[in-house]
Amino acid sequence: MNRGELAELAEATLQKQQACRLRLLVCCGTPCVAAGAEAVVAALREQLTGLGNLADLELVSTGCQGPCSRGPLLTVLQPGQPEQVWEKVTPELACTVLNTALQQQHLPEQNLLPQDWPFFNRQTRLVLANSGRIDPESLEQYIARGGYESLAQALHEMTPDDVCDGVVQSGLRGRGGGGYPTGLKWQLVRKSSGSRKFVVANGDEGDPGAYMDRSLMESDPHRILEGIAIAGYAIGADQGYIYVRGEYPVAAQRLRKAIKDAERAGLLGSRVLDSSFSFRIDIRIGAGAFVCGEETALLGSIMGRRGQPRIRPPYPAEAGLWGCPTLINNVETFGNIPSIFSIGPQAFSAYGNGKSRGTKVFALCGEVVNNGLIEVPMGIPLREIVYEIGGGLANGATFKAAQTGGPSGGCIPAEKLDTPVDYENLQALGSIMGSGGLIVMGEQSCMVDVARFFMEFCLDESCGKCVPCRTGTVEIYRLLSRICNGSASQRDLQTLEQLCVMMKDTSLCGLGAAAPNPVLSTLRWFRQEYEAHVKDRRCPAGVCSMNELPLHLLGEQLLQRISALRCDGEEY
């Protein structure tokens, strides 16, 4: 395929879609499938077959549409009319919608989501532009939405240096959590010398409570391939790898199919789009190790070894896979690349706040009314995310904290709800942007218990290579357990803080250095809860059992018992 043919295919597919008098988009993301989306698709398919599979009616099984807790979702597109979305769709409801739409009658209002629903209105969808709008397994539908046009533009109109400069201008920063400027990284790898260079997409989304990368890989796989290919051209690589988490078999399967389709169409492989650029992409499946999200551990895992981090420098940009310069970015970062070139770096950097440009995808979960996947401009106040997009807390609970960044992040208290969400501001609060998990907690969550939960996670996932992380996680977990069961003393609280700071300073990799963050941030914002546990032996949220005694109370109790045994009735 050359550039002209690409444009023709896009035009032809778009015309076919515009000629449809009715397009039905059923969300087939995992949560919707669990809620019964497959039955909805089957029922609609049967109806359409009954009608003789008319060419101007289209049924599409899409990837994630966003409001995951309200599935199955059905979006109806009719020319000249605003799109309408139904929640909690049953096969019967779907058929009613189809039939009334065909008879051009008033569509049923049962379970219809309002037109001005903030969940949709407050979002800015760049990375998720195609998620929930296209069949993830269809290359044509991706191309019809301008897919691979950015790659064509880069290959035919720009030099590799231009591409790097474009990414620098856009102000894009790594979406995996670190926030390193993406353009600078690309330039660094471009300048490194090596016999070969590699591009690696990090899809090892290990943070509990985050599923943006999964959804992106499952809903719009070609976008990631396009982003990786552009990166390959920019840095001078001929091979890319996508490292997919082992728990995400659907994502791996969709990416495999996408690679095959793209290669067949000449969008990957040798002489991409009739240019002199050749690029292959392979999938590597992870095997369940959180630490593999760390870049040097990930490289080890791709090379078939234990996923243990190593000391940097040398950074992967100089010596990565098999000692060659390697560019590693998160899959969401690569998902941003096609948008940067389709709307232009300037337009991209118009979104955002301060040094954080563009948008960020969040997995909004926990005690909010609207759970789901959202994409918002950087710098949006947290309050807007929780109360407008999220619809406030479920069951009338009171907001207590929002947890971002998973086990490497922290908890943001209610008094900081108006903070703009971007890299710098979250860091100032002792949390991090992280990969994008955002878990809202109400009054019934105990912050000490939450800190213990994350420390248990890190204890389990520590690879054991460096001492501070290997033993630090165990000791901190023990101290937190003591606080939770009521046997801690003031001294333990001091030790806890000291250990956290030491671990932060001395760990080998990001896992250990960031592991104390949940403890430090809860200590900072919810110290009174720790004090209540230690001083008053009381859990304010009523979560912890507090059924043990600290040593000094244990001693007193013992003395009382012994006194009771004395025959002379004297006390000690």
């Binding site: 949560p31 985050a210 959180f290 078939g304 759970n371």
Partner: protein
């Protein structure tokens, strides 16, 4: 170990070994492809026996210690046979906040095994996951490959009734 039932058949005669050998050939016996090979081997056999690991090590010309090291490093690989069915309770943050702990406790009670174990009759393995990426369904669990959520402790036990009832009747 008694649970290694397959080890009674010599590994070389096992028809499933062909799948592993085919993968080895496809990956050109590259030592770097170790994790891919182990994935295939576990898919074919259900678990990685010591003999199987030795076979893979020999084929890839890697020390057995390295193969064993990799196989035990990653959570995904198991060196013991799994139950016929598997139930995995997600204990990610969203599920945890919404009460995954109670679900797990109740399931452990109902089935009589701890997470990470398999029932004596080999019918069911109970496990936990660090996050299955279905946070909007929290608290959620999977039975074999089907995803269920949001669950309560009782509804979770009910999901396993179908699997557990059969051995109960036989007793």
């Amino acid at each position: 170990m008694p649970e290694h039932a397959c080890e009674h058949i010599p590994l070389a005669d096992d028809p499933r070994l062909k799948l592993v050998d085919r993968a080895l050939k496809r990956l050109q016996y590259q030592p770097d492809a170790l994790i891919e090979v182990l994935h295939t081997a576990q898919e074919a056999f259900g678990y990685l026996s010591r003999d199987l690991l030795a076979h893979v090590a020999a084929q890839l010309k890697l020390p057995e210690s390295q193969v064993f090291g990799v196989a035990t490093f990653y959570h995904f690989f198991t060196l013991r046979p799994k139950g016929e069915h598997s139930c995995i309770v997600c204990t990610g943050t969203a599920c945890y906040v919404k009460g995954a702990g109670e679900i797990l406790d109740k399931l452990e009670q109902a089935v009589g095994i701890k997470a990470g174990q398999t029932t004596a009759d080999g019918k069911l393995s109970l496990g936990t996951a660090r996050c299955l990426g279905n946070c909007s369904l929290a608290p959620m669990l999977t039975v074999d490959d089907a995803v269920y959520g949001p669950e309560t402790p009782d509804s979770a036990v009910a999901k396993l009734q179908g699997i557990l009832e059969v051995p109960d009747e036989q007793r």
